[in-house]
Amino acid sequence: MFRFLIRRFIQALIVMIVISIISFLVQGRLGDPVHQMVGQSVTLEERKQIRDELGLNDSLFDQYIRFAKKAVRGDLGVSYYYKEPALDVILRKLPATLELSFSAIVLIIIIAIPCGVIAAIKPKSILARTLMFFSTIGLSVPIFIIAIFLVYFFSVEWQIAPSFGRGETEVIFSFWETGFTTWDGIKHLFLPSLSLALALMPLFVRLIRSEMMEVLQSEYIKFAWAKGLSPMRIYFIHALKNTLLPIITVAGIQTGTLVAYTILTETIFQWPGMGFLFWDAISRVDTPLISAYLMVVGAMFVITNTLVDLIYGLVNPTVRLSSHGL
C-alpha cells in the first residue's frame, strides 16, 4: 500500500511536469494578453513596453524555467485579471465546481443504477425499451442543447428554477462557500447538476444494463434462484455488486469527461466555478490562470484515479494492488 502510494506520487510528478510543458506550449498560440488589457488608442510601442515588463518577449524556454522555479515553491503566478495568485483564485472557485459535480454524481447514482437494473431484468418490456431509447438520445444530443431545453422549460416557460448563477451561498468552516445550506442555493443547483448528470447518465445506464445482463446469466445467480432467495436480494445485492467493478473503472476514466462537461455546464449556467473561470481565462488570455487551472485539474485526475484503484481493492478483494502492475 505504501509502495503503491509512493509510486503513484512519482507518476503524479511526471504527469504534472508534462502538463506544465504542454500548457506552456499552448500559451503562445492563445493570443496576446496585453492586447486584452489595453484600450484601442494605446500605441504598439507602449504595448511592447508592457510586454517587456511582463517578460513576455523572452524566449518560451526562459519563461518556462522562470515559471517552473516558482511552481516548485507552490507559486503558479498572478492572474492578470484577478490580480491575485492564480492558485488562490482557483481554490476559491473549487467548492462551486465540487458541489456541482457532487450533485451530478448523486443524481447519476440514484437514477442510473435503478434504470440500468430495470433495463437488464426485463430487457423486452416497454419500460426498458423506453429507457434505452432515451439513453440513445442522451448519448447523441450534445449537452448544451439539453441544457438550453432545460432552461427554456424550467426557467423561461414554467419559471420554477433560476436560469443562472449560484444564488445565495454561505461560508462554512471559514473557507468553503456552500450553496447546500440555503433553499435558494439548492434551487440554483437544480438545472446545472441535472444537465451535467444527463450528459453522463446514458453511458452508465447502458453499461450497468449490459454488465448486469451478463452477470444474471452466470452460475452463481442461477444457484441463488435455486436457493429461493428473494428477487430484490438477487438483483440488488448479489448481481449488482459484481457488476460494479467495471463500472468503477469507467467512472474513474469518466472524471475527465466530468471535468470537461463542468466547463460547458458552468459556462451555460454562469456557474461561478473553476470551469467557468477557465473558459473566461482563455478568452482573456489570462495565461497564469490557464496554466494553474491545467495543473490543478491534472492533480485532481491523478488523485481520483488513485482513489479508484484503492476502491477497487475494497469492492473486490481478489484484486491486489501489487498484482495490478501498480
Partner: protein, 549 residues
C-alpha cells in the same frame, strides 16, 4: 428585484411613533397652570407628526435593479483601461465634469458651467457642495489630481495629450490650458471623472498587470457606492445617500450587476425574471424578445463603424482604384444588415455616422454588380484573383457571418477569398501584423467625432505619432493628412465640418476602404424599468436617473 419598502420608510414610522408618544405624553402630563413650553412643544410635535406622515406617503418607493451585461470592469481603477465596462462603472461610482444627454448635447455635471477665456484656456467652474463617498468635499485640487493622473495613464493619455496643464484659480475654479486650439476639449472633458485626491493621495499608481490601491478601492462622487465585488461574478452597488443631484428622479437603491457572457443565458435570465435589465441582445433573439408582453426592447444605432481594409502593400491589385471600387460595388451592405443583423444596424457608405460632423448625406452605400464586373474587366482582372481575408469571430455582432457574406459577394466578381476567422484574443495580434489582404475592424470614436476615426484608421501610418495605428490598408494620402491636422485645431465649427466632410468625399472617390455598417445597440428590460430614458449611443446607461415604477 421589484419594489421593496424603503428602509427610510420604516425609520419614519418609528420616528412617528415616538412623536405620537411625546405628543400624548405632554397632553396628559400638562399641569393645570399655564405652561407655555408645554403648549409649544405639543404643537411642534403635532406639526412634526403631520409633516412626517405626509413625507412618508409622498416618498418615492425605492427599487432594486438586477442587471446583466456581457462584460464587467477589469479593475476598479477608472484610469487603468479605456473600455466600455470601465466607463460604465465610472458613470455609477464617479461623476464626469460633463456628459452628453440622449440628444448628444453636453449636460453640466460636476462642472456647473465653463467658458473659453482665451483660445488656449478653458475655465471650468465646479458645482458647490459635492461630496465624495469618503466624506471629503470636491474641490479644484481633485480636478488637477485627476487630469494629471489621466495624463499618466497609458490608455487615456493619447486623448489628454491635448491638455498642457491645469491651474487652480480658487477652491471651485480651474483653468485648463491647451497646447494648441482644441475644438474637442469638451468631448475630452467627458472623460474626467474626478477622483478623491485626499483618498488616493500617495497610493495612486496605475499598473496594468498587478494589484494597486486604486484597483481595489474607490471613492467618487457618483450616485452609487460599490459594496461588494467578485470579479467575473457580480458587483453590488448601494445608493449614495449624500448624492448631490437631488433633482434626479432615479429611485434605484441597490444594483446587482452580473456579467453574463453567453447571449442565450443572458436572454433566458431576463425572460425567466431572474434579472431586470440586459445588454446586448443577439439579432436572432430579437423576434423572441418582442413576443414577450412583459419585456421591452430598446435599440439605438451606435457610432461604431465596421469596415474592411484592403491592403495595398500586400496586393498590387488593390493599388488599382478600379479594383477597389469594384469591391465596394460588389458588397451589398444593405443586404448584410437586413439578412444577418435582421435590420438592427445601418448600412454604411462612409465612416462617420449621421450625428458626426464629418457625415456627408449624399454618400450612400452603393451596390452595382454589373458595373463592378465591368470595372474588374477594365482593370484587366476579368478572370479574378485569389486573396486572403481575416476577421474576428467574437468581437462584433455577427462578425463571422458578415465576413462569410463578404466572401460570397466577392465570389460574384471572381475574387476568391480564403477566409480565416479567429477569436478576438488572437485576431488583433494578426491585425497588428497585417496578416491578410482583407481585414475587418470596428471602431468607435472615443471623442464622438469623425477625426478620431480618420486619425486611427485612415491617416498614413506613423510609428512616432501613433497616427494610422489601425490603418491596415497602407493607404496614404497627403491631402487627407493635411485635413486631419487642420481639423484638429480648427475652432470654427462650419469650417471644421467642411474639412471632415472633404475627407469622407476623398475616401469615397478613391474607394480607399470598404465601409460596411454601423451596429445597433440593444437592451431589454422589464416593462416597469424606464430604461428608454437612460440609455445612450455610447452604452453608458445613467443608472442614477433610472426610474422604476
Amino acid at each position: 428585484m421589484g419594489i421593496e419598502p424603503d428602509s427610510d420608510g420604516f425609520f419614519c414610522i418609528r420616528r412617528n411613533a415616538l412623536l405620537i408618544y411625546y405628543y400624548f405624553g405632554t397632553v396628559l402630563m400638562q399641569k393645570p397652570s399655564f405652561d407655555l413650553e408645554g403648549i409649544i412643544m405639543k404643537n411642534i410635535a403635532f406639526l412634526l407628526i403631520t409633516f412626517n406622515l405626509w413625507i412618508t406617503s409622498l416618498g418615492v418607493q425605492a427599487a432594486s435593479l438586477s442587471m446583466a451585461f456581457d462584460a464587467d470592469p477589469v479593475s476598479l481603477d477608472p484610469h487603468e483601461q479605456l473600455s466600455e465596462a470601465t466607463l460604465q462603472l465610472s458613470h455609477l461610482v464617479f461623476d464626469p465634469l460633463l456628459r452628453r444627454n440622449q440628444s448628444g448635447i453636453f449636460e453640466p455635471r460636476l462642472a456647473s458651467h465653463w467658458e473659453q477665456i482665451n483660445p488656449l484656456t478653458l475655465r471650468v467652474y465646479l458645482r458647490e457642495g459635492v461630496r465624495f463617498h469618503s466624506g471629503n468635499m470636491l474641490s479644484a485640487d481633485d480636478i488637477i489630481f485627476t487630469i494629471l493622473r489621466l495624463k499618466r495613464s497609458p490608455d487615456f493619455r493619447a486623448m489628454f495629450n491635448a491638455i498642457a496643464g491645469v491651474k487652480k484659480i480658487d477652491a471651485l475654479t480651474v483653468d485648463i490650458s491647451m497646447h494648441q486650439q482644441t475644438p474637442l476639449i469638451l468631448n475630452i472633458l467627458t472623460y474626467v471623472f474626478p477622483m478623491d485626491s485626499a483618498f488616493y493621495k500617495g497610493r495612486d499608481a496605475i499598473v496594468k498587470f498587478g494589484e494597486t490601491f486604486a484597483s481595489k478601492n474607490m471613492s467618487g462622487t457618483g450616485p452609487y457606492i460599490l459594496t461588494q465585488r467578485e470579479p467575473g461574478v457580480e458587483l453590488i452597488f448601494k445608493r449614495f445617500h449624500k448624492y448631490w443631484d437631488h433633482e434626479s428622479k432615479g429611485n434605484v437603491d441597490t444594483i446587482k450587476f452580473t456579467p453574463i457572457r453567453s447571449d442565450s443565458t443572458r436572454l433566458a435570465a431576463l425572460l425567466s425574471g431572474d434579472v431586470d435589465f440586459i445588454h446586448p441582445i443577439s439579432p436572432i433573439d430579437i423576434p423572441r424578445i418582442k413576443r414577450s408582453p412583459d419585456i421591452k426592447f430598446v435599440s439605438m444605432p451606435s457610432t461604431r463603424i465596421l469596415l474592411l481594409h484592403m491592403n495595398q502593400a500586400r496586393r498590387i491589385e488593390f493599388r488599382d482604384q478600379r479594383v477597389r471600387e469594384a469591391i465596394n460595388l460588389a458588397i451589398n451592405q444593405s443586404l448584410i444588415v437586413e439578412k444577418i443583423l435582421k435590420g438592427f444596424g445601418k448600412a454604411a457608405g462612409q465612416l462617420s455616422v449621421e450625428q458626426f460632423s464629418g457625415h456627408v448625406k449624399e454618400i450612400k452605400p452603393k451596390y452595382n454588380l454589373e458595373k463592378a464586373k465591368q470595372l474588374m474587366k477594365n482593370a484587366g482582372y476579368g478572370e479574378g484573383f485569389r486573396i486572403s481575408m481575416m476577421a474576428p469571430n467574437n468581437r462584433y455582432v455577427n462578425d463571422e457571418k458578415i465576413s462569410q457574406a463578404v466572401v460570397a459577394m466577392l465570389a460574384k466578381i471572381n475574387i476568391s477569398v480564403e477566409l480565416k476567422t479567429l477569436p478576438k484574443a488572437q485576431y488583433f495580434q494578426e491585425f497588428d501584423n497585417r496578416s491578410a489582404d482583407l481585414m475587418m475592424i470596428g471602431w468607435q470614436s472615443d471623442t464622438n467625432d469623425s477625426n478620431n476615426l480618420f486619425e486611427f484608421l485612415i491617416a498614413c501610418t506613423d510609428q512616432n505619432t501613433g497616427l494610422g495605428a489601425y490603418n491596415a490598408s497602407s493607404y496614404c494620402n497627403a491631402k487627407i493628412d493635411d485635413r486631419i491636422r487642420a481639423a484638429n485645431i480648427e475652432m470654427n465649427a462650419e469650417r471644421r465640418t467642411q474639412l471632415l466632410q472633404e475627407i469622407e468625399i476623398i475616401l469615397e472617390e478613391e474607394s480607399a476602404i470598404v465601409p460596411l455598417l454601423w451596429q445597433s445597440l440593444s437592451w431589454g428590460a422589464k416593462q416597469n424599468f424606464k430604461i428608454e430614458n437612460i440609455v445612450n449611443e455610447r452604452n453608458f446607461p445613467y443608472l442614477g436617473d433610472l426610474v422604476v415604477e
